[in-house]
Symmetry: D2
Subunit: 364 residues, 4 copies
């Protein structure tokens, strides 16, 4: 039998449930879970803020596990083309079933908008299988994109940023940072902190994190932010002024939004210089409208604003490489504030919702 | 003596004035004006809607003229490196004085945001010289970027779109249209009509113009629009529906805004498909705020929104090449609704403000 | 029974053979072939110049057919997401089996380099099925990307360029043509002629085709080339001179190679201006080495050279849209020099090899 | 009087000469030289390998100095828009006179191909002024783009890479490195070592330097190269194999050539993976031809090859920001092998030509 933590319905408390160990179809892989993480999405799920979620679900969209069983007799290949082996430590793209045949996949090359994709831990029901990381085992269906962790990479280091990092890496890639640019990151959660680290791995000349609370701003400083601005003790006008003071009066070359607060979007436009670039990645749920001035904030500013949705396998794969290669420079595991076992997932959710943590792990 | 039409101050009627013929400094060029145009900017100027305008001014930022005199004894070179010759028909970039040395010119390579640039017909006073096209002569100061009209190109064909075309060309370049894309243009004025033509010169699969009034929608059809949508008889919801019906339910691949109306901006986002591209070029003056939903309109949509300000010499040069090369395909001169002499400029402004024209020319 | 024309082995003459009508697996589609084409690749195949070809094969990688049967009871979707219907006229991407899971598919996003892809008419044996267009029927396996022809598009118009156009469209997309650019196309075969048309659908200011023989240069002129240069009666030096004369001494802004001749590559570099762009798409088989000067031809020239391999579904889909939308402007069917039935395929190959045709069709 | 080291003619030994202190025109700046560097270009100059050099010249195209005098009474602005002040430590773009008006400047936006540009220390004669860094003073003419060194940046740290870094930064920008990519650098001179550092500031997953001799490979390791390959003890085949071994059999994602040896170019193509990117920046002089296979090395490979010429002000400005921001990570000054005074410049040239140094400085 397999024990997992289940979110039965919106607004209902987490429950421990047991499931049969799955019988693997050819091409499937069963992981023994080493760890999974708690992210803001999980708190949104419990509040019922996402559409199309087939409760009950096993949360935990990002996880790391050890390969325990492989379905069928043919080798199962990871994304680098090597056969997956029993005992190997791997992660995987949480998005399953991107079709490769629809208009968005084939014509627009916008795979994160494929309508057939499902997400482990979010849009796959525990009635159908062990499709989430808050479980002793995770069932990787045939076709899941498996990414091996390099030897020498502590799986905790990966999980410390493994959820926010691919999102941040996608956003920072779209941000087109040039060497020496000033990069402003709005938000000091896991996506924002990953973005601050990645800005330095694009050769930014100056990295500023705007957010809170203190525990997160301290982490931002440890991860190399040249300056931090506390959102709680400043007004929008003061923040715009502060960024201009740091940039010869111009504003940020590149700004990345990772807050989830609608009013952050027009503010981010104003934090950015004329002819700069602004990537909006944090508006993951519908939290209402925002008002802006199309002439001043967009057109006269010659501003490029890029909405950024989801991640693909490349973002996860590249995250793994970056986390491993630059582990000496960035103390990833320091971001882990607390670890919880499967019986403590409700407390984990409460701590994350209250921003008492930087990163919380579930370790079955 | 030189006669010109002068805008003395905001809200004041146009006046005819006479000026001394200028003495040319070395490197300057005096044009005998063949024609200039009236654009929406000129009506904004008369209403005092632009900041930093040193009234009195001679309007007419785009003009075509015949070279009548060249200052100094050294050759003056056009942008292709050839010496300008007496009798030659030329146009020029209306933006004068882009410094080539400031941070925006040298580091950001965003020359349209150079703070030193001045604009013929807009930010140069007639107290200082013949710096606008509504005049018998135009004084091109040393360093003005001169673009020759190719032989065989009717100067009226150039002026029919010579003001809106470089702006549209800039916007359509930023639009990154792919072969076969559906392109929606919001606005059927000179910029919008130029954009509709240019969409076909990017190989668009379908071009839709959303605007009015009828005279302009008719012009849009003659310029190859596959469909037009009358803004006056439809709601935003109906327009979004109409575009979805034309695109398999997805929305436009690329949308270009050329209206000047703030609410057009969130609407344009909704007209565009997920992972599409939206260029905002028509918000030339501050006409107020607009409200949008950052989650639905931007982030989940993975939308790329590009503000587009001004034009540079390349946009004018390329416009000239395109207008000349595709003159058989597009009947540019049909866009000219009326021509006015220097004594009729107030009537021209009134006709343009009332949208009684597609394009109005001033012919001294 | 189904009749098809088979290429038994390299250097062997074509043969008519009959096959059982296939039993369709769920998701498969059987086409009644309307037409297929002969391309240079087919002559290379007969000469044994491609590696990894599982002879005997049914040639004809591009084809158009009418849907005659659909395997299974579930709908089969085309790339726009609509269900394929009996009687519908469709084409398809000849590349089958791009895996969507390997490193090239997921990390490099370079699907044309996926090692698992097979090509209808090239790398699929007739021992395994009706996998080529020179046959009364074509068996589309589950997962083949089906692209419907729009109503009103003559299938002959599509086939007139349906093989070369996606390749040219890929190349011209990589060419990043700017409005008004001078585009030089090396080669006047089907890829080159398609490229010359597409250059005009990118708003080129001038299109020059360098090639031969006369029948193809005539076609180039009818398709809008502003100038043609006969490769047979000129030297490389003269061609470089000729292009410089047409471009103010600078050279082409964008050059596209579509010849298959190695020495065309250094020549193409010299035909292109400093800081220009050169796309090499015609070197489909190994025809030997070429010598160039890295300092003069590449580094000092600040030249961008892009090799371009294969096409994906998007290229075929976009080609269909472009061919349909611009059929009034470009007389596609005029490119068809001759049609052959299944018993005449050897003659067709001979005519193509001798360049006696512009485009030859096989019409079963 | 001002003492400078002069290169009288090709193949002639260096000489000390004295010059009058220049009278500054308005907008000019006189620097007291703190240091200049010796680069490969200087050895090419002494061998007469560059065309159009107006000997006698004062070499030293990159230099740092303290502002000693400012011409005229108006402020002279640096590229950030701040007035230059007496006593300030600055560098400058060695390229003077980029016109901002020719076809390459205005239409192609390819300023490094502007035909009017002159280069301090290379194409400006000492008969005309103190236009090179191997001199007690450097005369910055009006319009020279001045870049201030940030407080806290040791000028030696800048000069340690100040010549190669802008070139490498230009190349690495064109290289479009993605997070986690494997980057191979051909050449371990100042450009190659700068490129290896910058690859890590683009988030490369693996950096490999191919070059020699040992002193330079040691420096490459200290600057973070994950692997080095000694060019002297390996064959091309072995090097291609070695890179494939490090990349799952694929080759480098991005390769940067910084060697000056023609045969390095086809080799670099082979070191790079299919659909990868190759930047050629080291072929600064004409050292002969190279032979490649257009089918295998370019077309089938879907390779993107970018020639990279010169640097602009942005590259220098961004280099300064990067050198200052990442000084803790990279021990720039360790690259300085030796310093020479103005009387020792011939020895400096000899040491550089013999590759006895990594970086040699001239300190007047």
């Amino acid at each position: 039998m397999v024990t997992a933590s289940v979110m039965p319905a919106p607004h209902a408390p987490m429950e421990l449930r047991t499931f049969d160990r799955p019988r693997l179809e050819p091409g499937a892989v069963l992981l023994r879970t080493l760890g999974s993480e708690v992210c803001g999405t999980d708190t949104h799920l419990q509040r019922g803020q996402l559409a199309g979620v087939p409760y009950p679900i096993i949360p935990g969209h990002v996880a790391v596990g050890r390969v325990e069983e492989i379905g069928g007799s043919d080798p199962v290949l990871d994304v680098s083309g090597a056969p997956v082996e029993i005992g190997q430590v791997v992660t995987y793209l949480d998005v399953y079933g991107t079709c490769g045949r629809c208009w968005f996949c084939t014509i627009a090359h916008a795979s994160t908008r494929c309508p057939y994709r499902k997400v482990y831990g979010v849009t796959m029901s525990c009635a159908d299988g062990l499709y989430g990381g808050w479980s002793e085992h995770v069932h990787l269906r045939p076709g899941v994109h498996i990414v091996p962790l390099p030897e020498g990479l502590d799986w905790r280091a990966f999980l410390a940023v493994g959820c926010g990092m691919p999102t941040a890496l996608h956003a920072m890639t779209l941000g087109n940072v040039a060497f020496g640019d000033t990069v402003v990151v709005q938000g000091a959660g896991p996506v924002g902190l990953s973005a601050a680290a990645l800005a330095q791995l694009r050769g930014a000349g100056q990295v500023v994190v705007v957010g809170g609370p203190d525990v997160r701003l301290d982490a931002a400083r440890r991860f190399g932010a040249d300056a931090v601005i506390d959102i709680a003790s400043t007004t929008e006008t003061e923040r715009v002024e502060a960024i201009r003071d740091l940039t010869g009066g111009r504003g940020a070359d590149v700004t990345v939004e990772a807050t989830g607060v609608p009013s952050a979007v027009p503010e981010g436009m104003r934090l950015t210089r004329d002819a700069g670039r602004y990537v909006v990645v944090g508006q993951y749920t519908n939290a209402g409208d925002a008002s802006l001035n199309p002439h001043l904030d967009l057109n006269q500013k010659h501003l490029d604003v890029q909405g950024c949705w989801g991640s693909d396998t490349g973002h996860v794969y590249r995250s793994v490489q970056v986390i491993a290669r630059y582990a000496r420079q960035f103390p990833w595991t320091e971001l882990i504030s607390a670890e919880y076992d499967l019986s403590q997932t409700q407390r984990a959710l409460d701590d994350v919702a209250a921003q008492r943590t930087v990163k919380a792990l579930i370790v079955p």
